[in-house]
């Protein structure tokens, strides 16, 4: 599917046949993923595991998660009678649009994952309570759905008492007390134990499953994505595939995607909201040397036109990077970001403001440097398309 045209067929379908989802979702088991952060990664991991295990499934991989995008994904794979060759549809749903389509989902087997809920795109959604209301409206329309809720996110956990659906919750528990990870609102039924030796064990209501993992120090949010997938697999009765959730490495463009161009290594990190930015900053190396940062902030509709969320992010971790590190700023709101970091206590002498991306990359090319690029959605696409001209890369829309 070509760039920017991922939703046209679905748009036509929904306009001409407003009850299209009723027929499109009648003959397939749905796995819906919604929430603020981690939707795409969770969907991609789940789809990857299902495909690896020989289960046929469809997914809105291009990230078109509004109702037109979901309709496009479904209609491209079904035959004219609305039947599929695939067993599952793994669909990422925008949290604001979820309620608009959920009341037409007629499929008896629906699993709904709510990854987490935090402030995001306030210009579009209003406040967090509004987003919760949207999701609750959607759940109300799906009495048959099994909910997989993140018990460690207080906002997500607070949905459980408000619904009458079957709820399967998941959470992480460590040997060491960590208040950040704990929420008393909902006792998780699938618990991932992080032991001090680095071993992972998933405790389901029936059995404890040891989960080998390749990454020695995985970021917490990535563990949550894997745990969400493991919970879904447990719920679907595929517990034997759970260990692969924590050991699978899969290609997820724009999400900690490492791209090498000559001697320079680029790590492309998509940031959309304070929670995601905080998690991304926490994943920086503990003793960073030979690194530079690029902040590419746009304010287009897909990024959220209100960039005031940058002021809710905690950038104190950047104060500890070494003094030779340069901070580059690009995108339509580069100056806004520079002001934000100035107020975070960083020395403006180290700032380089360069709105033009090709010029920026000529200045970035220094041997043996590791560049961390924090980019909002549209600027991530711009940067990625520029990197595609420098090195052979799969196009974002062809993933």
């Amino acid at each position: 599917m070509k760039k920017g045209a991922t939703t046209y067929p679905g748009r036509i379908m929904v306009k001409l046949c407003p009850d299209a989802f009723t027929y499109l979702t009648r003959h397939i088991s749905l796995i819906l993923v919604t929430g603020t952060n981690g939707k795409t990664s969770t969907c991609r991991l789940l789809e990857h595991i299902l495909r690896t295990q020989g289960v046929r499934c469809i997914s809105n991989r291009s990230g078109a998660n509004l109702r037109f995008g979901v309709a496009t994904t479904l209609l491209t794979h079904c035959n004219i009678f609305g039947r599929y060759k695939q067993q599952y549809a793994v669909l990422e749903c925008d949290e604001g649009d979820f309620a608009k389509i959920a009341d037409q989902f007629t499929c008896p087997n629906v699993t709904l994952v709510v990854t987490n809920l935090s402030h995001d795109q306030l210009d579009r959604y209003g406040d967090l309570q509004q987003v919760k209301n949207y999701i609750l409206c959607g759940i109300e329309c799906l009495p048959q759905a099994v909910l997989c809720l993140n018990a460690d996110c207080p906002e997500t956990a607070s949905l459980a008492p408000l619904v009458s659906n079957k709820v399967v919750s998941y959470g992480i528990r460590t040997d060491v007390d960590n208040d950040d990870l704990l929420s008393d609102l909902l006792q998780p039924s699938c618990i991932l134990s992080l032991e001090s030796q680095g071993a992972l064990t998933l405790q389901t209501p029936d059995v404890a499953i040891p989960c080998p993992h390749k990454i020695t120090n995985p970021p917490v949010y990535s563990l949550y994505n894997s745990l969400a997938v493991a919970t879904v697999l447990h719920q679907l009765g595929h517990s034997q595939w759970i260990p692969s959730c924590f050991s699978t490495e899969f290609y997820n463009p724009g999400r900690f995607e490492v791209i090498r161009v000559d001697d320079t290594s680029y790590t492309l990190i998509l940031v959309k909201n304070p929670a995601g930015f905080r998690q991304a900053l926490q994943c920086l190396p503990a003793d960073p040397t030979d690194i530079d940062f690029v902040f590419a902030i746009n304010d287009r509709i897909s990024d959220g036109q209100d960039v005031s969320w940058l002021w809710d992010c905690d950038f104190s971790v950047l104060n500890h990077v070494d003094e030779h590190t340069t901070l580059f700023f690009t995108g339509r709101r580069y100056s806004h970001m520079a002001v934000r970091l100035k107020y975070a206590g960083l020395d403006p002498e180290r700032f380089v403001l360069e709105p033009d991306i090709p010029t920026l990359f000529t200045r970035l090319q220094r041997p043996n440097r590791h560049i961390y690029l924090f980019a909002t959605y549209s600027s991530m696409l711009e940067i990625r398309s520029h990197l595609e001209t420098l090195t052979p890369l799969k196009k974002f829309w062809d993933q």
Partner: protein, 227 residues
């Protein structure tokens, strides 16, 4: 030339629709059922208010406001009236049925027990059919809607064997009424079809057929233009 052909087709279709309108004797039914508010008997318990699409900013359009203001006047005339607010409730966050309820709650002192919201009034026909589930076939009711919409609504009631008292609403915006008139002519064909030929089974078949045809069209577009 192209414009002339378009104009010719439009005028032929309109003439046919007007002929159809006359054959069904819609105007005759309309004038027989039209009452002044003061002439409506006190024993009529129910009043059906038909909704209208809200503006994009979820505000109430003038054509809906005039119906609701008439409802308030009716309440003062007969305080025992139970109002059925029928609208399209598919949009869950804000829809005309809820907007009507909120308007009447704020603008009048009608008790909430006398306001019944019917969110499944997707079309005029649906609103009237839903009403028949609440009242008996012989029980008369007051019908409140705009002047341009009234003849078709009364035709549906008449065809279903219901007794409706149509409240005369003075035409507040004549330009808007003219614009809606052609739409009403086309909608009358649909209403006529639904009243006389519509069965649940046929409806399911039609919906399914629409889905299959739309899907086929989308797939053709998908292949032809390689979206």
């Amino acid at each position: 030339m192209k414009r002339k052909i378009k104009h010719l087709i439009k005028s032929i279709v309109l003439r046919l629709l007007r002929l159809f309108y006359k054959i069904l004797r819609v105007d005759s039914i309309y004038y027989q059922s039209l009452y002044d508010m003061d002439d409506i008997p006190q024993n009529v318990r129910f009043c059906l208010i038909l909704g209208a699409k809200l503006f994009d900013d979820d505000s109430i359009p003038p054509i809906l406001k005039e119906r609701l203001d008439a409802a308030i006047r009716l309440y003062h005339h007969n305080p025992n009236t139970i109002f059925i607010l029928s609208g399209d409730g598919r949009k869950r966050i804000s829809n005309d049925a809820i907007a009507m309820y909120e308007y009447l709650r704020h603008a009048s002192n009608i008790p909430k027990e006398q306001l019944i919201v019917d969110p499944a009034g997707y079309t005029t026909y649906d609103s009237i059919i839903n009403l028949t589930h609440r009242i008996s076939q012989k029980e008369p009711f007051v019908l409140l809607t705009s002047a341009f919409h009234m003849p078709r609504s009364l035709y549906i009631c008449h065809a279903l064997g219901l007794t409706a008292y149509a409240v005369y609403l003075p035409v507040s915006r004549p330009q808007a009424q003219v614009a809606y008139r052609n739409r009403e002519l086309a909608a009358l064909v649909k209403s006529w079809y639904r009243v006389h030929f519509h069965t649940p089974r046929l409806h399911r078949f039609c919906c399914r057929l629409r889905f299959v045809l739309t899907l086929l069209l989308c797939k053709c577009l998908f292949t032809a233009f390689d979206f």
